[in-house]
Symmetry: C2
Subunit: 192 residues, 2 copies
């Protein structure tokens, strides 16, 4: 869209550093100066690539959105052809994510929380990610023969988001298995 979207080594490095710090400490808690110091980049370089901190945050979220969904899709593809197994593979992916080093919840949920005004650009960017995941879930539900695929996908989305919060607060992966088990039950009901 904008010229700032063109990839460049400095830009990528800034986004990677920003992502790491934002995810660890929060969007408001991390200042521009800290990102610059950690990345070893001059301030004007950042402001030549991004118009503002807000644009940097949005760029980081959009990049992360792509990576996330690709990672989920890869897990689904690796699960084979059985539609039920493919759907449940999402929950296996979630469990692996919960157990990953430095897991601190969902960056998008946290963005929704830190920018609670639904009209805020960051809030909306974060929500678009959730909608994209729901859309992918719906396709998996349809393939698995669910009667009301959209409704089931939305419910599975609730389970996943709830599990993220529980896993973040408890530092455990157990919520993923609860969500998975419930998803399996719901799928059975919806396909009957």
């Amino acid at each position: 869209m904008s010229a700032a979207d063109i990839s460049s080594p400095k830009r990528d490095h800034l986004m990677a550093t920003a992502w790491r710090l934002f995810y660890r400490d929060g969007y408001r808690a991390v200042g521009i100066d800290m990102i610059l110091a950690e990345a070893g980049v001059a301030k004007m370089t950042l402001y030549n690539h991004f118009a503002s901190k807000e644009e940097l945050i949005i760029a980081v979220l959009e990049k992360r959105d792509c990576e996330f969904r690709q990672s989920i899709i890869a897990k689904v593809e690796a699960a084979g052809l059985d539609p039920e197994q493919r759907l449940l593979a999402v929950f296996d992916w979630v469990e692996g994510w919960f157990g990953s080093e430095g897991f601190r919840g969902c960056a998008f949920i946290r963005a929704l929380s830190e920018y609670p005004d639904p009209a805020h650009p960051i809030h909306q960017t974060a929500w678009h990610h959730k909608l994209a995941v729901l859309s992918a879930l719906k396709d998996l539900c349809t393939a698995a023969g669910a009667k009301d695929a959209e409704s089931l996908a939305n419910t599975l989305g609730l389970l996943i988001d709830g599990a993220i919060i529980a896993a973040h607060a408890t530092c455990t992966t157990a919520p993923a298995r609860s969500a998975r088990a419930t998803a399996a039950s719901l799928l059975k009901l919806a396909a009957a």
Copy 2:
């Protein structure tokens, strides 16, 4: 616990104002000065009642925790004696909450998000609230004849937290009904 816990008009007024602003804009986004200006109170009055902003946030969350749970319990009691209806009344309460003026998600989820370090006092305070709600849910599940009440309560907790996020982002109450319908199905399965 501490002397600061003693109630006083000024203290209560500060906490009410702080709650309103924190909930509307976020914990980090709202500064002490804004709370003081809005409440019409001198800075030293605040710091005589609270050792720090962090303590103020924790005090506000703890107070809100009590009010929340009492409000839920009242709704459950008003639902009568049927155990299933009592459990589902929680979801009716949630729907009413989602539709309330100025709804901006869950202050506790947002506290978990803004203070993502699980060791942070604010993070832990917020999680204690969620645990208390889960405990109450478990009692309702037990009364409703669920085989594994704790497991069911945890799953219902996932649904509720997920619904909160969806309702916040979409400004709708629909997620509450999705969660309620799913809860009814799960209860039937668990009581069979």
